[in-house]
Subunit: 273 residues, 2 copies
Amino acid sequence: MSSPATRPTIGVFDSGFGGLTVLKELVALIPGADYLYFGDTARLPYGSKSVDTVARYAVEATRFLEAQGANLLVIACNTATALALDQITRAAHVPVIGVVEPGAEQASLASKNGRVVVIATEATVSSHAYLKALERRGVVAREKACPLLVPLVEEGWVEHPVTEQVAQIYLQDAFDDGFHSADVLVLGCTHYPLIQPLLRRVAPPTVSIVDSAHSTAHAVAGRVLELYGKGSPERSAPRLQFFATDSVEKFRRLGPSFLGHRVNWVEHVDLKE
Amino acid sequence: MSSPATRPTIGVFDSGFGGLTVLKELVALIPGADYLYFGDTARLPYGSKSVDTVARYAVEATRFLEAQGANLLVIACNTATALALDQITRAAHVPVIGVVEPGAEQASLASKNGRVVVIATEATVSSHAYLKALERRGVVAREKACPLLVPLVEEGWVEHPVTEQVAQIYLQDAFDDGFHSADVLVLGCTHYPLIQPLLRRVAPPTVSIVDSAHSTAHAVAGRVLELYGKGSPERSAPRLQFFATDSVEKFRRLGPSFLGHRVNWVEHVDLKE
């Protein structure tokens, strides 16, 4: 593939804050890029919404990021990827990478016995995107919706007995009949990396945890290398711009726990309204 | 006030399903009316969103219900009432009743010592709408945000040890320093009536529970009596129509637990998109 001379501008899209866990990994792996992060915080969460609604929102976000100059798009939202990656890819004029395929790929490599448990939002599970992606790789998957984990993370209860109890209930159910021997747990929602230490304690000890956010960042790094080569992207520090459809103040307040550092500058955006 | 000859068409608006608890009470009190219920399910929850966003959504919903023929509007959503009742009232051409004033009125009547605890969403608490409404009635209020209760109700965990533990943590905090003697607990969110038996067990035994949904239905019944007189509205059975911005199937599935009976007919609506 040819190497355009420009530095990559990577558009990262999520329904809210969760995608910042992907952005954090991206910045660490590809510091020589510019980043545009779009959080559709006025319409979050996507996890409980229908395919049509999520697809419409995601395509609007995609167009916005392209208009802002993104030349590579990362759909850092499991629900949007699971429900609408095809529509997004058709609407976009630049390469698009979602979180499901990299997560499924990593899980299939990590599993020794081809049995995997995926935890995610209700909408991601209903789409069976992980099930299908793993099936194509010869892996049998059990998907488990965990709708309380996102609100628990957003309440800040990342190390809390209630969260541990809820995780225990969900995982007990997920690793039940037929899946006692599953050896990989996929975090199929970008909020879940924040409770990874707690999930580590609650999950069966022999299970490897695969974080889709982390896997996706590696997939994006590979693509950037392909498109832009090794040299140029690392010349200078990353530039980060944030856009949110709801309160800018709230984004600045909640963002840091996902991103790992301060969120300095956020612009408010209205989509088609 | 003059009595128009028409039968009332009551528009009921909520961000999602919670307002169905108000509708349930309304139908029981005013069976001789037509009802239009609008649930903005594609953009729920409002409870974690900013004033500007909630106001914009609520005004759009108001206009929709008026266009459908509503001649009285009930804002059956604490967050929308708390954040945007003024904007809604200005935008509307028919009388508007929100849930905060009726709830505060009932609480001030129920309290013997003028100390009240209000539990609600983050946005309702941040607006201090209940605090101000109770202050105007000489009542001192403590407001407590309980962001996990809505997702717990939506998970169907209405009688579950986790929900009980979460409610205990929230109420312990709410009835703490200075509010040990509070004698009324206001349910400032229309999801909470579904866990009223659980809250009854967890709250201090001497506390009366005031349900804003119930208080609002009584306020609306009073207004209907004023506007339409006693006779005509009770002549025939209520007619119910439902509108939702997200999946119609999901509305039919989740609605009954709030409404207490089947939801037969739901129409999908797009607002300004």
